[in-house]
Structure formats: C-alpha cells, structure tokens
C-alpha cells in the first residue's frame, strides 16, 4: 500500500498535503471502494469550510462515500477533471486524483503521520 511520508492522514482515510493544501482519498480508501464511477465536489472555490465538513462525494460500484475536510480554510481549487474521469482516484489517489485544494487556516489535531496511518490500516485488516 502506498502511503507517502509527506502527507498527513485521517481515521476516515483522507489525506492532506500541509504544503499545498490539497485533499484527497488514500490508497487504502480507493482500494476498499474499488472501481470509482462518480465523484462530485460538495464545495465551490471561495467557500469557507470547517474541519469535518463534507467536501466531496465519491461513488464506486460497491458503495458511496462522503469525504470530509481535515482542515479549515478557504477553497482555492476543485478538481474539475474528476467529473469525466473519476477513475483516476483509483489509479493515482495522491496525484491526479486530488479532490479539492484549501488555503489552510487550521489543521485537525487528529491527523496522523504516514507511520501512524500505516499502523492504523494494518490493525483494521
């Protein structure tokens, strides 16, 4: 499983890039969901969001999932490409599969580093 060390992680399997403010779903999450067929942002550019707000909705052939914000701030970009090619969340969850970008005002204090997240995933299997 791919868990980049530069990112921070939530218990509900989102990642946050503290440098760029991008957020997305982890490799573990995309694997659990399997083939993703639909992704839609629940926020627009310039929206102010709080930690725990729903930012995106993702649907796979198995299930649908709401993705939550792990930081508060203002949305600066939304990944528009996912509308046509939601499957890149499967193939490139930390790259082209990013969901939204935020100008961070505050990070959640429950975020884990890569090592802690890896242990967390192992314990769930």
């Amino acid at each position: 499983m791919n868990i980049p060390t530069t990112l921070k992680y939530t218990k509900s399997d989102e990642w946050l890039d503290p440098k760029t403010g991008k957020m997305g779903l982890t490799d573990y999450a995309q694997d659990q969901l399997s083939d993703i067929v639909f992704a839609e942002a629940l926020v627009d550019v310039d929206d102010d969001i709080e930690i725990g707000d729903g930012i995106s909705e993702v649907e796979s052939v198995k299930a649908s999932a709401e993705v939550y914000a792990s930081a508060s701030g203002t949305i600066t970009a939304v990944n528009e490409d996912l509308g046509d090619t939601p499957e890149v969340i499967n193939s490139d969850p930390y790259g082209a599969g990013w969901l939204v970008q935020v100008e961070i005002s505050e990070e959640s204090d429950e975020l884990m580093d890569a090592a802690a997240y890896e242990k967390y995933c192992e314990n769930r299997d």
């Binding site: 399997s34 639909f38 052939v61 299930a63």
Partner: protein, 526 residues
C-alpha cells in the same frame, strides 16, 4: 447441480454471449402486426401532423414474435422459482402460489378504491384484519398499510417521528443516529426528512457501541434507526438498553423490520422498546420481490404516535357484532335489522394529526392480499416455525462454512450471517469473484459488499423454505470455490461461464447511463 465435471473438461472461454436474442427492433419487419382489426365502420380521420413523430422507430411484430421473444428472455432469468437465492437482507423465500390465486379472485382483483365502502367490505375487512395481525406480530398499537416499500416505510416512519417532536414544540431535535452497519436507506430517509444523520460505530461483538451512543444521546436527538436483528444477522445483545438510552434523551426508536423473518412469534419489536417500525411484506410475508412486483412497507407505531399515521387507515366505522368479520352483502333486509344485529361496517378514517397521504389510495392492495393469505395459511404457530427454520438453516450453513470462510463477528446468528470473501493466501480473489463463480454452480450469489463494516462481505440468507439437500449443495459449492480460489483462481476471475452472458462490465453500467437502443442524431450536442 454439480457442474464440476462440465467445467473441468474445459469450457470454452468466450467473451461473446452464448445465447443471442435480438432486440424487438432487430426482429421488426415492416407491416407485421399483432392484431388484425376489422375495417372501421366510421370514416377514418387522420391525426394532425403536429402529433405524429415520423422518426420514431416502433417495432412491428406479430403476437407470436413478441411472445417468443419475451418467453425466451424470461428463460435467461434466475428467480426463486428456479433455484436457491441466498441474497442476504432480502429474504428471498419461496412465494406460495396460493397467494396468486387469492390475489386474482375477481372480488379482490376488480374492485376500485373509489367504490362506495358498502360495496368493498371484503377488501376493507382484509386490510383491517391484516392491520390487526401485523400489529399483533410486532406488538404495536396502530398501523398503516400505505407505504410502497421498506424505504418508503422508513420515510413515513421518520416523518411521523418528526411530526411528534414538532407537535410537542420540541424543535431542537434534528439528529438521527444510525449504526455503521445500517442499510443505506436509513441515513437516506433521515436526510430526506431534513434530519442530520450521525453514524454510531459497532463494537467488537457487532452490537451498537454503547459509549458512542451515550455520547450522542442529548436533547437534539430526534431518534435512532436500528435494524434488529442487525445487518450482520446478529441480535443486538443490548437492544433494550439502547432503546432506554435513546428514550432517556427524549428520542424515539425506529425499528427497521427488514429482518423480521428471524423473529415471528418469538420477539415483538414494541416489547423491546421500539416506537415505530416498518415491515417489508415482500420479504417476510412472501410477496413478489424486486423486479417481480411492487413492494409493501406497512408501518406500525406505539399509541403516542398513532394520531400521526398517514391518512386514511381502515377502521370499524359502525359497530356491530364484533365476531362477524365477513359481511353478507346484497340482502336488503339487513338494513332493517336492529343495530346490534348488524355486522360491523368497515371504512376509512383520518388520524387526527396525520402526516397526510404517502401513497395513492391504500398502497399496493394486491400485495396486501398475498401477505394476508400467507399469514392466514400459516397461523401463529406456523409463523413461529418459519422463523425457527430460517434461523436453523442459516446456522447450519454458518457451521459448515466458518472453518473455510472467515466470519468476523462469529456467534450464533439469526436468519443470516456475513462472511468475508477473501483469504490472505489468495490475495487476488475478491467477494465479487466468489459471487460470480457461484452462478456457474447454479446458485444466485449472496449479497456482497454489504454491510460496509465487513471487508469483502458475503451476506448469506437461506430462508426457511430450503431443504437440507439444497443447503448441502450450496455448502458444497462454497467449499469447492474456496479450493478453486487457492488452486485455480482464474476459474473465479473468469466466472461466470455457465450463464447466458459472461461477466458484465459494472463500471460501464454505472458510468454510461445510456439505456436507449437508438440515440437522437444530435445527442452529442445535448
């Protein structure tokens, strides 16, 4: 069925469908008709051009063409009449054919809901008696037959919960709790009535986590939706305490009755502490299911919620002899008897604070006739047998499979159980592959990937109507598939091969929502 010999001699891999049946459009030939009408004896009038669509391609076929086409298609279908259908949470029991006979009786089949009630007493008596029976089975005080499915019952029930709080001016109650094992319709219906959904985790025994529940039980609580037995097929061991915690916080308990097949004549939902619940007649009471027919989701409530039920409900509008259910009609003299000697008159009443109507007329009346028949044919003892055999059958399969398939919450199950469709030493095999491979062995697959809290879930519900031979051949197939998963996983990945069509492209089916056989020429520009 044992397909192992057939498959081991090398069935040809072929991605093309094995049986090809053209569409009605391809079968069409210009000028072919189903019915030859006699020449009209009035002058012909042409339809105005503005109403005609010259480009609309309607197929032209004879009656025999149409019958053969659809009969052939129907043989590609798998149904509970053709084989074992252990689709967990759906209770795909065999539907007795006497249900169909009763639903087709002209007195039931040909009534219209707008007829005067004096002329539809038989239908009203049936609905009244069904209300009484369903109240008795779950211990509720009042009940509506209107909702058209389980999810519609949930919507109705949560509207009733909201109306109750609003009526008490208790308007800060906006939060609905659902366990993480719940069916998607629970949070969906709560959200539809405008409530905020909060998910409660399960503990390691598959019960609701009581500490997490207590943490959310505050004065903003509208209520909680709980399936019991839950979607792991487990009876929540703390169900009474859960109801107590929610009640102490001022909330109401909604019971999702999808799994009533485990409890008939054994436990009543109202006695456990639930305030509202829906039945799924198409599950528990043997009415057609899914594509086979409309559903029905009656909702029962405790006395304090009775006034909020949808309108109308069937009631005795004119008292008479209490024991006389079946009204003699057509006897003019009846009207001249003293009131005491008249049979009761059944009619429709609107509960005083009703949430309104949730379905046209009385819901799916034909389904009510079938469920009534099922209950009448079984009687109280028979219904208890139904649940006991349903639970026994599920535990039999569980006992035979638990050493081969990992069962994460492994204790005595109710009418179904959830296993994992994965092995550490067969990492490429998924629940979906096992499900598809079961089709090669002639079985409908179990529910998979639900509930979401079990990885690669396979949810197996045999129901009471299956005999030991059927259960044994299913178990046998499951054990063989587990062996294949380790030794010849390609058999699973390439499954199904024994069906009219091979594996369908689920991603394409979910993404390309184009069902038309032809597209308007300017489709791309739309």
């Amino acid at each position: 069925m044992d397909t192992s010999t057939k498959l081991s001699t090398g069935l040809q891999l072929d991605s093309a469908p094995k049986i090809v049946e053209p569409t009605v459009y391809e079968l069409s030939a210009p000028g072919r008709v189903g019915v030859g009408f006699p020449d009209p004896d009035v002058p012909l009038a042409d339809l105005p051009d503005s109403l005609l669509r010259a480009e609309l391609p309607l197929p032209e076929l004879s009656e025999a063409d149409v019958i053969r086409h659809f009969v052939k298609l129907s043989t590609f279908n798998y149904s509970v009449d053709s084989g074992f259908y252990p689709l967990g949470s759906c209770t795909m029991k065999y539907n007795p054919k006497v249900n169909e006979d009763m639903a087709r009786l002209p007195g039931f089949a040909n009534v219209h809901p707008l007829q005067p009630i004096e002329t539809t007493q038989g239908a009203l008596v049936l609905m009244y008696q069904l209300q009484e029976w369903l109240k008795e089975i779950s211990g509720f005080d009042a009940l509506t037959l209107q909702p058209a499915a389980g999810a519609h019952g949930e919507f109705t029930g949560t509207l009733i919960m909201r109306a109750y709080h609003e009526d008490r001016k208790d308007t800060k109650r906006v939060k609905m709790l659902v366990p993480d094992s719940s069916h998607g319709t629970n949070p969906a219906t709560s959200a539809m009535v405008g409530l905020k959904v909060v998910q409660i985790p399960s503990d390691e025994r598959g019960n609701v986590d009581l500490d997490a529940l207590r943490a959310e039980a505050d004065d903003t609580l509208a209520g909680m939706m709980l399936t019991n037995p839950n979607t792991l097929g487990l009876f929540d061991e703390n169900v009474e305490e859960i109801c107590q915690i929610v009640h102490d916080a001022g909330g109401l308990m909604y019971g999702d009755g999808a799994n009533m097949n485990a409890m008939l004549g054994i436990t009543k939902m109202a006695d456990l502490g639930f305030d509202v619940m829906h039945y799924n007649l198409h599950k528990t009471f043997s009415t057609p299911h899914g594509g086979g027919g409309p559903g029905s989701g009656p909702v029962g409530v405790v006395a304090k919620l009775a006034d909020f039920l949808p309108a109308p409900i069937v009631a005795v509008v004119d008292e008479g002899h209490e024991e006389t259910f079946y009204v003699e009609t057509g006897d003019e003299d009846d009207h001249h008897h003293h009131e005491d000697e008249l049979p009761p008159l059944y009619g429709l009443v609107d509960p005083s604070k009703t949430i309104g109507r949730v379905k046209a007329f009385h819901g799916h009346f034909g389904i009510l006739v079938r469920a009534f028949t099922y209950i009448a044919m079984h009687g109280a003892d028979g219904l208890k047998d139904v649940s006991e055999y349903a639970v026994l059958n599920a535990n039999y399969i569980l006992a035979k499979l638990r050493d081969t398939y990992h069962v994460p919450y492994d204790r005595i199950c109710m009418h179904e159980f959830v296993a994992e469709g994965r092995w550490k030493d067969a990492p490429d095999v998924h629940a979906l592959d096992i499900a598809k491979r079961l089709m090669d062995y002639g079985f409908h697959p179990p529910t998979n990937y639900f509930p979401l809290i079990v990885h690669e879930a396979l949810m197996i519900e045999p129901t009471e109507t299956e005999n030991k031979n059927t259960l044994d051949s299913f178990i046998d197939a499951m054990l063989k598939i587990a062996k294949e998963a380790h030794e010849e996983p390609e058999l699973l990945h390439e499954a199904p091969q024994n069906t009219p069509f091979g594996r369908l492209d689920e991603v394409k089916a979910a993404k390309d929502l184009i069902l038309c056989c032809w597209l308007p020429e300017d489709y791309d520009n739309q």
